[in-house]
Subunit: 515 residues, 2 copies
């Protein structure tokens, strides 16, 4: 069948999935997932839920073959918990576990042996780096079902995904399970990605390397949702939180892109008193923040709030009074952790607040602008953020789809990557529909989506290098020596890209290992 | 039928209720209440949910005859919202609304005309003062179903009570509905009693007299759960928060009771490094805190946490480092409000965290001691907290039942009230089973529940005036000139006292208006 985005989707009834139906379709579910009623009579009256090891906790939780275990990426590339979990699962002789992480990082290459030996059946979630490459080569059993951060929350809330056992890495916890990421030797900031799991999983295990006196106050996740608490030597290395996608770009070309994006929002009148913005992970987005700050400083403009990925750059603006609040989805560096802990206007948000599409509004659509990356864009402004043009699934989907709902969504991207034009006639993988993508900023110029006549008019006469998307495409094709070809892939399906409402917007095939 | 506490209960199948089954019975429900899935597509993309009036908001919410509207008592006797709501309901011509407040106060006498004219069918909840008297005289249609704070949360969570429209009075809110009680001219502290309603009601209206720029950060209730926001001139008078039950006792007799309670916990070894305590509303309980503080100061002891009703007394201890944290259930005075706002170790908790019996443990059972009041106690340590010996329903049930789960529950009560002995052979109304009540402290002496041999041994030789409960009963009967008679009441049922799990522990009859 062909879905509402024009992509061909196989019959996925067995997985309970259907194709994308357009961006404003009604929810498929009438009621949220049912949750079991518990009784305090079944938990220790003194609140002490400590058990001696992760292995014992998994056993107490009734771990069986085929169950789903979830984890979260607050420690980013410093995570040391997932490996400990699956070592314990293997020791218990349990097989075919579905791993449901909120994101994976290069450090999780260490889990490939558990996929190989059958301990893990498949990873249900966004993949990147070594695990994405592994799946792309058809090595993983089961499909990588890619869900954005908001969609991951929604999928748990709506009951698409049932988590049997959630394991939450907590930089500080008390013996009851009240826990936070704001304190402790492994402080990572917010624990927002674990909130859905804490609410809906059958069994919740908190693992900490900093057990504190009750109450661990203020907590981010209440112990009332927690079954067991385990103390370990280390949940990870917080220095590795600043990994990959959270350093400023040093490339002059990418700096130009970031500067053009900032000049665009300024010229379009978006940078005005009380405006709001979001900058995603990635060097260009982070550099955009620095340029935007310069404009705001020059013009004496204050933003009402910024969404992030909090970083030293946003923290600096908050502390200077240039933004009213940081609504923090995940903490990208240690300045962010400190600010989240100390500044009441630096608020931990969760994918529920920011991104869940199935609630009474979320923060994403309130943003005046969001500056995001992409791996490919087509001439209709549709975009890809997960696969490379060689077909390999190398990037996490993050909150990218959710953030597309901002009032002005800008993809700030180089026109060529490894000499391959990123503006194409057809995408390798569709992740976001063009009707939600307003502007493409490249080092060669800025293309505004024709449906945004208001933006075109607003920047008329600004002196910015405005071009049609076809013009930028032609220029880059000229430089590259022709159009990029659509990669040939195997028939074998290795992943599904789902939309924020859980429908399937595209498929990902195994790469052609002969080519 | 006779329930597990020995009280006769009529057949309540039509109400979906059954009799008390003992204190550790399994939950009646397997799964929590189902909740509707919403879509952000149905809410304003810019987050602005303001409507022009409460009346318009109720109309938009689809208010119909017989629906249930909930409110909350954070403004205590200063509440000005309930009257505004029912004035609007009456203007809309809607009848037979069930009002589901988290508590009522004397100011709510103003709602009697709405009960009289059929706007309100009945009040489903704890009653006291003028409304309790009104119901006691058989004037209210429908039953007052008394639920403790924890049981109110549980009843919503488990689906016993379905709230059609929750109206939340918010001292500060933004246009999206992110709201808090910590700031604003009507700042009242925490909004914890509204959390269940915000999560489970079909429709949520936030009413504020301080609309702030988005985001209202930090919020206590997220706007993602809110349908509409209404601005009004005033939600109430915060000076009236300190109402009735939140001033120190000035009676020498009651001060002696408070002092004896403090000396008891000290002698029993409960006041030790890292201990925890809860003192309820009421002059004796508050005075207990002051005496306990003196002991702690003298002996250099620090408590790990205190639960309250936060007041200037707890705040003082927190600021002096005598307690590690305040887990605040409701804010009893303006010092409490300030501290909640400024001190990260003064944490807003909700009935979910503190008291919900149907979750993975709550804070109540972790307390080393709780000092509470009562209107009557029987010789088996069963107690009443809602009716007077004349049968009238004059006191709210509050979190009293929930707090009974502490490791040492002390009822600190005068032996006589208006010359009527409070220790009786039989209670007018049973609210709490004696197996959860450990100590009765009166001005005439201290009676320890015989099942607490450990406590009896611990205070052996302490010089405290220890007596059997029968001795205190006899002394007070001698002074009163005899045993109190059990009041004769009409057959007509006017209320039900439910236990923390939702079962019916006792009934309340109409008072005999002839006598």
């Amino acid at each position: 069948m062909v879905n509402a985005a024009g992509r061909t989707i196989p019959d996925l009834k067995d997985l309970g999935l259907i194709g994308f139906r357009g961006i404003e379709a009604e929810p498929l579910q009438k009621t949220m997932a049912s949750r079991l009623v518990r009784s305090t009579a079944d938990y220790p009256a003194d609140g002490n839920k400590r058990v001696e090891s992760l292995k014992a906790a998994l056993k107490n939780a009734g771990l069986r073959d085929g169950m789903t275990i979830s984890t979260h990426h607050h420690m980013r590339n410093g995570d040391a918990l997932a490996s400990q979990i699956f070592a314990a699962v293997r020791e218990l002789g349990v097989k075919d576990v579905v791993w449901f992480p909120s994101a994976v990082f290069p450090c999780h290459e260490a889990l490939i042996p558990y996929l190989e030996d059958g301990t893990i059946h498949h990873i249900e979630g966004s993949l990147n780096g070594p695990l994405g490459d592994y799946a792309s080569r058809g090595r993983m059993r089961g499909l990588a079902i890619l869900r954005s951060h908001g969609n991951r929350y929604r999928s748990i809330q709506d009951g698409d995904v049932h988590v049997d056992i959630a394991v939450i890495a907590a930089p500080s916890s008390d013996h009851f399970g009240n826990c936070t990421g704001a304190f402790g030797k492994s402080a990572c900031g917010g624990l927002g990605f674990a909130v859905a799991d804490s609410e809906y999983a059958d069994h919740v295990i908190v693992v900490t390397d900093n057990l504190v006196e009750f109450p661990c106050a203020p907590w981010q996740i209440p112990g009332n949702l927690v079954d067991q608490v385990v103390e370990v030597d280390s949940i990870g290395d917080p220095a590795q939180i600043v990994a990959g996608t959270t350093v400023l770009t040093s490339s002059p070309e990418r700096q130009r892109i970031a500067r053009l994006a900032a000049e665009f929002v300024s010229a379009a009148g978006i940078v005005r008193e009380g405006w709001s913005f979001q900058a995603g992970a990635g060097g260009i987005s982070l550099s955009f923040v620095v340029y935007a700050q310069q404009i705001m400083e020059r013009e004496g403009i204050r933003a009402s709030f910024a969404r992030g990925g909090s970083s030293q750059y946003l923290v600096d603006m908050l502390e200077k009074g240039q933004i009213g609040a940081i609504l923090d989805g995940q903490t990208f560096d240690l300045d962010g952790v400190r600010s989240l802990r100390e500044n009441p206007k630096h608020v931990m948000t969760t994918p529920f607040n920011s991104y869940n599409y199935h609630t009474k509004g979320n923060f994403a659509s309130m943003l005046d602008c969001a500056v995001l990356g992409a791996t490919e864009v087509d001439v209709n402004f549709n975009a890809n953020v997960v696969t490379h043009s060689d077909g390999r699934l190398l990037h996490g989907i993050g909150g990218w789809q959710d953030a597309l709902f901002s009032q002005c969504t800008i993809l700030a991207v180089p026109s060529l990557r490894n000499r391959v034009p990123i503006i194409r006639d057809e995408l390798t993988t569709l992740c976001g529909p063009g009707e939600l993508i307003d502007v493409i900023v490249t080092e060669r110029g800025i293309a505004i989506n024709p449906k945004r006549g208001d933006l075109i008019e607003a920047v008329n006469g600004s002196g910015l290098p405005l071009k049609s998307i076809e013009e930028i495409q032609e220029e880059s094709e000229r430089l590259a020596g022709g159009k990029p070809e659509l990669v040939q892939r195997e028939e074998n399906l290795i992943g599904l890209v789902t939309w924020v409402d859980g429908t399937v917007i595209d498929t990902i095939q195994q790469v052609n290992t002969q080519s």
